[in-house]
């Protein structure tokens, strides 16, 4: 590609297939239980995506957002959510960024959206990890309700991941 300056790209990705991923990891995954992975206690991943970056391009700013539509009425031991970011060369998903929503209040209804956005924007000059070269990998996680069935029902088709970034090349 020739020199194109800077492009702002907004992306929206519905969970879609991610819901079935939750089903595959539901057994034994409960909030408060020991979950000995890099996700952190209680968390399990339900969506992993790759943000591709052209070989001659560089991401200078990246904002993540997660909106989860509830499919149940939450009662107790309410779930909460996390989004994490790493680049392809790193093994731990929270290397570049990690942010969690607040735990849902009890009696939250199915009309409520859990909606939060990453507050940190990385730039090539603000740390040793973020080169901006990518590709980047985003992981969405849930710390489910004590009832796994409620964790499965905690999301519906209105859930989506958003991110926007400046690409310079």
């Amino acid at each position: 590609m020739s020199n194109y300056g800077s492009i702002l790209v907004d992306t929206i990705r519905p969970f879609g297939h991610g819901v079935s991923n939750v089903a595959t990891v539901s057994t034994g995954v409960q909030y408060g239980a020991t979950f000995s992975t890099s996700y952190g206690a209680g968390f399990t991943a339900f969506e992993e995506i790759t943000v591709p970056v052209p070989t001659n391009g560089m991401v200078t700013e990246l904002l993540l957002g997660l909106t989860v539509g509830l499919g149940i009425t939450v009662t107790t031991d309410c779930p909460y959510f996390r989004i994490q970011l790493k680049d392809n060369a790193q093994s731990s998903y929270d290397t570049l960024f990690s942010i969690a929503s607040t735990r849902l209040a009890s009696l939250v209804s199915t009309t409520t959206l859990v909606d939060f956005t990453a507050s940190r924007v990385a730039t090539p000059s603000d740390g040793t990890y973020f080169t901006g070269r990518g590709p980047f990998q985003v992981q969405c996680l849930i710390a489910p309700n004590a009832s796994t069935s409620k964790a499965l029902g905690a999301m519906k088709s209105s859930s989506y991941l958003t991110y926007r970034y400046y690409l310079v090349g």
Binding site: S2, N3, G5, D10, I12, R13, P54, S119
Partner: protein, 54 residues
């Protein structure tokens, strides 16, 4: 933190299987670059599908 203010009309949206991509481009070079980005996303989606099958 930098605040984002959308002042230009969005154009050249791309809708893929699992993505809606909305670029903010104003020059032919940017539009051309975005087409390359869309190709990369398509390639990534194929890789994701193959990984799920495997």
């Amino acid at each position: 933190m930098k605040k984002y203010i959308d002042t230009k009309p969005k154009q050249n949206h791309a809708i893929l299987d699992n993505y809606l991509l909305i670029p903010d481009v104003s020059t032919p070079e940017q539009a051309k670059a975005f087409k390359q980005i869309v190709k990369l996303y398509k390639h990534t989606l194929v890789e994701e599908k193959n990984a799920k099958i495997a």
